[in-house]
């Protein structure tokens, strides 16, 4: 439904607008000229490793911090002058579990409901699907819940006042693959309810679950687009090299002159060549066979977001060789 509304409405209203936001802590620049917009009803992903500046950006958008320069708007309100109004309209789930460990599930929920001048029943339909999963433990203290349960409780608390924008800072960090999948299912449902969601994650594989993503590294945005188009923008052809024990020879291959990059990717190596001549992949196969590897398979493969992220990082001067002294920072 959210998708339809977006298409039918010509003048889309950006619910989050971030313009040239910069922020430093002493000598360390956490954010450098970050700009992006999140449209109403979007599930927007902020994808990048730890230390990329995601949390700082969230804190600026949720009015917890002031940017050094640039401006941020949430729901048409200025993050500095209208911060009180913004706080009424957003839901925020910080990266760290931020509920009262010594209060029970129910007490936490009721407390946060009262905080926002609402009650558990008022918006029950919104959180029902999530709440039923933790309801059996409602008298348990939050501190004694498992990781997945804590995460669900925190989400319920962030949703209890039916915010128009939901900020989720690394909700899936440290959570196992099954719980992560479940969590993204919940986000899909919330999006259907018309809630705009900004979510950050260090897991690149989660990028494809978002409507649009911003890739961020060392305080700078590398690229913004839909996951599909980011993948389409990948320069050159990527090859997957398969054989047994494949990860171990990444370093051997990387030393070859005609190889632009070579990374382990699950069961195969993703290789891109310096010159995409048709013969290069065959050369590599022959070279490997000559080295005594058996069952070598080299074939083109569609890049994923992580490939794109690596390429974007490399474009900005990162090198893969361990011990390479040029490898200081993003820039």
């Amino acid at each position: 439904m959210g998708g339809n509304r977006m298409k039918n409405n010509d003048c889309q209203s950006s619910l989050i607008k971030c313009q040239s936001v910069s922020k430093s802590y002493g000598d360390v620049q956490a954010l450098c000229e970050v700009s992006f917009q999140v449209e109403e009803g979007e599930l927007y992903g902020l994808i990048g490793p730890d230390g990329a500046g995601k949390t700082t950006l969230f804190r600026i958008l949720t009015t917890l911090m002031l940017p050094d320069s640039g401006s941020a708007e949430v729901a048409g309100l200025d993050s500095i002058s209208d911060y009180r109004d913004i706080r009424n309209r957003i839901g925020y789930m910080p990266g760290k579990f931020s509920l009262y460990q010594d209060l029970s599930v129910e007490e936490n929920l009721n407390f946060f409901a009262t905080l926002f001048g609402t009650s558990l029943h008022e918006n029950y339909d919104l959180i029902r699907d999530i709440y039923v999963q933790i309801e059996p433990f409602k008298t348990r203290r939050a501190g004694n819940l498992s990781g997945g349960m804590k995460q669900k409780l925190a989400l319920c608390c962030a949703l209890i006042h039916r915010p128009s924008v939901l900020f989720l800072d690394e909700p899936t960090t440290g959570v196992d693959a099954v719980s992560r999948r479940e969590f993204w299912g919940m986000l899909k449902n919330l999006k259907r309810e018309g809630i705009t969601i900004l979510v950050s994650t260090p897991y690149m594989d989660e990028a494809t679950l978002c409507d649009r993503i911003a890739l961020i590294q060392s305080g700078k945005i590398l690229s913004i687009d839909t996951p599909r188009r980011i993948i389409d923008k990948y320069a050159g052809t990527l090859y997957a090299v398969k054989a047994e024990n494949v990860g171990r020879w990444a370093r051997d291959i990387r030393k070859k002159k005609d190889i632009k990059s070579c990374f382990a990717f699950g069961e195969s190596l993703h290789v891109s060549f310096a010159q995409s001549t048709g013969t290069a992949p065959d050369h590599l196969r022959d070279w490997l066979l000559a080295k005594g590897y058996n069952d070598v398979e080299v074939k083109p493969v569609a890049p994923n977001i992580e490939d794109c992220f690596i390429q974007l990082m490399e474009d900005r001067g990162w090198r893969l060789e361990v011990g390479d002294r040029r490898l200081k920072t993003g820039d």
Binding site: S146, D176, A177, M313, E314
Partner: protein, 245 residues
């Protein structure tokens, strides 16, 4: 016959009525990368603690580097390295000071210390950073430095507890290069991770569900057995039925 470095036999840990680790049995061979996977709360951390000599098992047997986990915890601690995402380095000490500290903790001789330091500096290209505080290094370097320090004393086994959480994709792969190198030098690697693609880099994988090991094999065999295209799929099929979560 491959040399066994970790031998675990019906190892169990109970906290009151709660059986955190339930009769797990497996072997880890020399120079192997052994992936220790499982959902949150499956009992991985508890099992790893017992193997590191930090926690006494309730029952069962285990030896690490030939030492018994009940009686020879001090010897175990000398023959293993440990690194976790949460704590690894003193951020307020310089790189050189951290190296000296860890060398000192494991009682390296001056010559060993110098050799180890030179190798590490060469490997990571830290020549100009020796006098910098670790806190000022980029995230990825810290992780690599932490790993290098964990193997500074040439342990038989190194335990890595989610070593690459939150690390950028390039550093993550550089990290795995370091792991491969370590195994070439005869070090056995015991690693937990939430990245399923990293599971593929392991020689063998064990999957823990509710305190038990539900599957143990090479990634290729596991995928075949569960007719899955990726380890993610295997993990999902196995962990979906978990009751603790």
């Amino acid at each position: 016959m491959k040399e066994i470095v970790i031998q675990v036999d019906e190892l169990t840990k109970e906290f009151g009525h709660f059986v955190a680790v339930d009769k797990i049995t497996f072997e880890v061979y020399k120079s192997e990368i052994f992936g220790f996977l499982g959902a949150n709360g499956a009992g991985k951390t508890t099992a790893m603690r017992m193997l590191c000599g930090l926690s006494v098992p309730s029952s069962g047997n285990a030896t690490v580097a030939g030492f018994d986990v009940y009686r020879q915890t001090e010897q175990i601690k000398k023959s293993i390295g440990y690194m976790s995402q949460k704590f690894s380095l003193y951020e307020d000490l310089t790189v050189a000071e951290n190296i000296h500290l860890f060398g000192g903790i494991y009682g390296l001789t001056n010559r060993q210390m110098k050799e180890g330091r030179d190798r590490l500096v060469e490997r990571l290209g830290l020549h100009n950073e020796m006098k910098k505080r670790v806190g000022a290094l980029p995230m990825g370097w810290k992780q690599k430095l932490a790993f290098s320090l964990a193997i500074l004393h040439r342990p038989r086994v190194v335990f890595l507890d989610e070593p690459t959480g939150g690390v950028d994709p390039i550093t993550r792969r550089q990290f795995w290069d370091l792991i491969y190198e370590a195994t070439e030098e005869g070090i056995t690697v015991f690693v937990t991770t939430h990245y399923m693609d990293e599971a593929e880099y392991c020689d063998r994988i064990s999957m823990m569900v509710d305190g038990k090991i539900e599957a143990l094999d090479s990634p290729a065999n596991l995928k075949r057995r569960f007719s899955a295209s990726s380890m993610d799929e295997v993990f999902f099929q196995l962990a979906r039925g978990a009751k603790r979560n």
